[in-house]
C-alpha cells in the first residue's frame, strides 16, 4: 500500500471537511431549536400529561449516551424500511438530541422570568398564548442567549460521533487521511485545531454574554 506524506494538500482536505461538521451542526441546531421550543413550552404548560411526556423525553436523552442515540436512529431507520443512510440518521439523531437539551435549557430560562410577570399578564386577562408571546418569551429569550451558545459548542463537538456511523465530516475525514498518510499526530492535531477554531470563539462569546448579563441583572 502506498503511504503518502502529510502535506498542505492533506491539511486542506481536513480543513474543508469542516463544512460538513458545520452543515450537520446547523441542521441539528435549526431542527433542535424548533423541537426545543415545543418541548420547553410543553414543559411549562398547565396540562399534566403532555408535561410528563416532555419530561420523560428530556430524561431519556439526558440519561443515555449520544453515541447510543445515534446508533438507535441509524439502525432504527433500517427497520422502518428507510435503508442505511448516515446523513439522514445523523440529522434526525442530532435534531432529537438538541431538542431535548435545548428544551431543558429554555424551560429553565422561561422559569427564570420573575413569577410576577406571569401573574401580572394573567391579571391583565392574557391567556397562555398571548402571555407567552408578548410577556414571557421576549424576556426569557434574553436569558437564553448565553446558555444556548454554550450548548451549540457541545453540539458541534457532538457531531464528531457521526464519524462512527460513517458520516464523512471533520473527524471521519481525519481518519481517512490518517489511513493514507499514517501520521496520526499531525492529522488528529489538525482535526483538533479545526474544532478548536470553530468552538473557542463561541465559548468566549457565551462566557462574555453571561458575565454581561449577570452584571446587568444584579442590583
Amino acid at each position: 500500500m502506498l503511504i503518502r506524506p502529510f502535506g498542505w494538500n492533506e491539511f486542506w482536505i481536513i480543513v474543508i471537511a469542516a463544512q460538513w461538521t458545520i452543515a450537520l451542526s446547523a441542521i441539528a441546531f435549526a431542527g433542535g431549536g424548533i423541537g426545543g421550543l415545543v418541548i420547553a413550552l410543553v414543559r411549562v404548560s398547565d396540562s399534566k400529561w403532555p408535561r410528563l411526556v416532555a419530561t420523560g423525553f428530556i430524561r431519556v436523552f439526558q440519561g443515555t449516551p449520544l453515541l447510543m442515540q445515534l446508533f438507535l436512529v441509524f439502525f432504527g431507520l433500517n427497520i422502518f424500511g428507510l435503508g442505511i443512510n448516515p446523513w439522514i440518521a445523523a440529522a434526525i439523531a442530532f435534531t432529537l438530541h438538541a431538542s431535548a437539551f435545548l428544551g431543558e435549557i429554555w424551560r429553565g430560562c422561561i422559569e427564570a422570568v420573575p413569577p410576577g410577570q406571569r401573574e401580572a399578564a394573567t391579571a391583565l386577562g392574557l391567556r397562555y398564548y398571548n402571555r407567552m408571546r408578548y410577556i414571557i418569551l421576549p424576556q426569557a429569550s434574553r436569558i437564553a442567549v448565553a446558555p444556548t451558545v454554550g450548548f451549540l459548542v457541545q453540539l458541534i463537538k457532538g457531531t464528531s460521533l457521526a464519524a462512527i456511523i460513517g458520516f464523512t465530516e471533520l473527524t471521519r475525514q481525519g481518519q481517512i487521511i490518517n489511513n493514507a498518510t499514517f501520521s496520526p499526530f499531525l492529522v488528529f492535531g489538525t482535526v483538533a485545531a479545526v474544532y478548536f477554531v470553530l468552538c473557542w470563539p463561541l465559548s468566549v462569546l457565551a462566557r462574555r454574554m453571561e458575565t454581561r448579563f449577570s452584571r446587568a441583572t444584579t442590583r
Binding site: 443515555t64 453515541l67 447510543m68 438507535l72 460521533l161 490518517n178 478548536f196
Partner: protein, 222 residues
Amino acid sequence: MYNFNFEPVFSGFDQLLLGAWLTIQLSCAAMILGLIVSVLCAAGKTSGVAPLRWLIDAYIEVIRNTPFLVQIFFIFFGLPSLGLRLTPNSAALLALVVNFGAYGTEIIRAGIESIQKGQVEAGTALGLSKLQIFRYIIMKPALRTVYPALTSQFIYLMLTSSVVSAISADDLAAAGNDLQSATFASFEVYIVVTLIYLAMSVGFSAIFSAIEKAAFKYPLSR
C-alpha cells in the same frame, strides 16, 4: 414488517452486564484520578505563578473546545509516534482522566472560591483547632457547593465513556458492538444497551441524591 428478535440479546445478556460493570469501573477510576488532576489544577490556578496559570487555562480551553472522540484518537493513535504506546484500555482511561480534569478544575475552583476568609477567621475566634476548621468550615461547605455539579459531571463522564468503544476499549458499548456483530440484531442490542445506560444514570443519580440528603442536611445560613 420487521420482526423484533430479542432472543440473541437475552442469551448474551451476561456479556452486556459484564460490559456495564466495566463501564462503572472505568468511570469510577477516571473520576477518582480526574478529581486528583482537578484539585491540583484548581490549586495551581488559584495560587500558582502566572505561567502555570496560563498553562492550566490553555489545558482547560483546549479540552473543553475539542470533541472527546478526537482527544481519544489523538491519545491512542497520536501518542505512539512520541514513543508512548498505550493499550486501548489505558488510552481510554487516560483520555477520560484528561477530559474530566478540565471540567473538574472549574468546578473545584468554584468550590474553593465559595469559602470566604471571614468564615475561617470566625472559626479561629471560636477556638476551633486547625483540623476542625479544615473539616467543618472549609471542606464541608465547599463539598456541598460543588457536590451537585460533580455528580452530574460524573454521570456525563459515564455516558461519554461509551465513546471509548471506538478504539475497542472494553466497556458496555463495546460489549454491545461485539454482541451486535455476532447476532446481527443491531437495533435490539442497542436498545437494550441504551436502557442499561439509562438505568445506570438513573441509579447513580438516586444514590447521589440519597448521599446528599444524608450528608448535607444541616440548614443553610439564609
